[in-house]
């Protein structure tokens, strides 16, 4: 019985040590664990020029301009915002299907001397909200959801009784 108890304590102590070591390591490497920086992160801790990195946030409503360049490729310019700050991004190439105003986006590239961001790739980042299109339309019609904005909190619409969607 006491040998079992001793093994139990040794294992728990090992687990504690391993857990704290992991927590310390992850905290130390936090900067390389984040997949992208928000415009506010970049304002607080500016990136050196010519260093590639990723910037993420929402595509600012009304900021998207599309054009075709001299070689006939699609060019898109938009602003990435995190609510507090925003950054102008330009990109040449095909955008993912989900790309639209108010949608999450992660752009990879580097800063230009003028402070705008030249993206070499653009990924869409969707939020964790899942609902039928009819429910989304009903929420927008009822004024609970401003177009170009993130969806309202789930507690407002996801009750067991269905919202009158039709």
């Amino acid at each position: 019985m006491s040998r079992k108890r001793r093994r139990l304590w040794i294992l728990l102590l090992c687990g504690l040590g391993l857990g704290s070591a992991t927590a310390l390591t992850l905290t130390a490497f936090e900067d390389s664990l984040v997949f992208f920086f928000s415009p506010s992160d970049l304002a607080a801790k500016p990136m050196p020029p010519d260093r590639p990195f990723r910037v993420g946030g929402l595509v600012e409503a009304g900021s998207v301009t599309r054009s075709t360049n001299a070689e006939g490729r699609a060019e898109t310019a938009f602003r990435v915002t995190d609510g507090a700050r925003s950054l102008r991004v330009t990109y040449t190439g095909i955008l993912p299907d989900l790309f639209r105003e108010g949608q999450g986006v992660v752009a990879e590239g580097r800063l230009r001397p003028d402070g705008s961001f030249a993206a070499t790739s653009v990924l869409a980042r969707h939020d964790e909200t899942y609902m039928p299109p009819e429910v989304a339309d009903a929420l927008k019609r009822a004024g609970h959801w401003q177009p170009g904005q993130p969806p309202p909190p789930a507690a407002q619409w996801n009750t067991l009784s269905r919202p009158a969607a039709n």
Binding site: L8, E30, F35, V122, M131
Partner: protein
């Protein structure tokens, strides 16, 4: 899969408990397997044909009905592996070793399903098959932990000697579980945060959530059936091994054996 195949030789006293396990699991397994097939089929057909499209992701949301249950089984399976390993190390229960060795390949298959279906979902929605963000990378690490456990278990000729190193590996790897779960909250990731396990209401409409929960229940039954079946196989393999060793010993020392 009848219960009659349970080992009857009670002289192998170490397998007294596995003997009871064989009777119980033999009675349960046909029902569990039938439930697994029926409930998974219900959840997947519901998700494929009857659940609504999603407002932002259209029909690709249907990949969720295989991706998310597989992800839950991948993580829940590893939790089971860690608990079995803990019991094995502290109490040295032979069934715990057998359970750990049975869980690892099943968990690895569910993790592979999660990774592949996630990739098939990421390409049309995010615009990429794969990124090295914290969530995707930590799930890939989970897959390698499962593979490492399988390889370590297979590296020993005697299953009893593999148990302890494999259990230690499984417990060390368990630090990865909270990292997977909270990666989407601790660090910016391309993967979105949790939809179902939230403090407020789940961010999934009920018309999409119900088929997801049914598919998850079906996957859970499938996981349990496969683990039980593999545990039963492992017990029979150990019994065959014990019979063979006993015969070999009897052949070497015929006079020393009691009549």
């Amino acid at each position: 899969m009848d219960g009659n195949a349970a080992p009857r030789g009670s002289s192998l006293h170490r397998f007294a408990n596995p003997g009871r396990f064989m009777r119980l699991s033999g009675a349960m397994l046909p029902w569990l397997a039938a439930l697994a097939i029926a409930v998974s089929a219900l959840g997947l057909v519901w998700g494929l044909a009857f659940a609504p499209r999603d407002w932002q992701q259209g029909d690709t949301v249907r990949i969720m009905y295989v991706h998310v249950p597989a992800a839950w089984m991948a993580m829940g399976g590893y939790l089971g592996l860690a608990v079995a390993s803990f019991v094995s190390l502290v109490w040295r229960h032979p069934l715990a070793d057998i359970a750990a060795a049975a869980i690892a390949p099943v968990g690895a298959v569910f993790t592979a399903i999660c990774l592949i279906t996630g990739s098939l979902w990421g390409k049309p929605m995010w615009g990429t098959w794969w990124v090295w963000d914290a969530r995707l990378t930590s799930v890939l690490v989970l897959f390698f932990l499962y593979l490492g456990h399988i390889a370590l278990t297979a590296a020993f000729d005697e299953p009893d000697r593999a148990a302890r190193p494999a259990a230690i590996l499984a417990l060390i790897g368990a630090v990865n579980l909270p990292i997977i779960k909270f990666s989407v909250e601790w660090w910016n990731t391309l993967h979105q945060p949790a939809s179902v396990t939230r403090l407020d209401a789940p961010a999934i409409h009920m018309d999409i959530l119900w088929p997801l929960l049914v598919a998850a229940a079906g996957f859970l039954f499938a996981f349990a059936s496969l683990v039980l079946l593999r545990m039963r196989t492992a017990i029979l393999e150990r019994r065959a091994r014990a019979l063979m060793l006993a015969r070999a010993a009897a052949a070497r020392l015929p006079e020393a054996m009691p009549a």
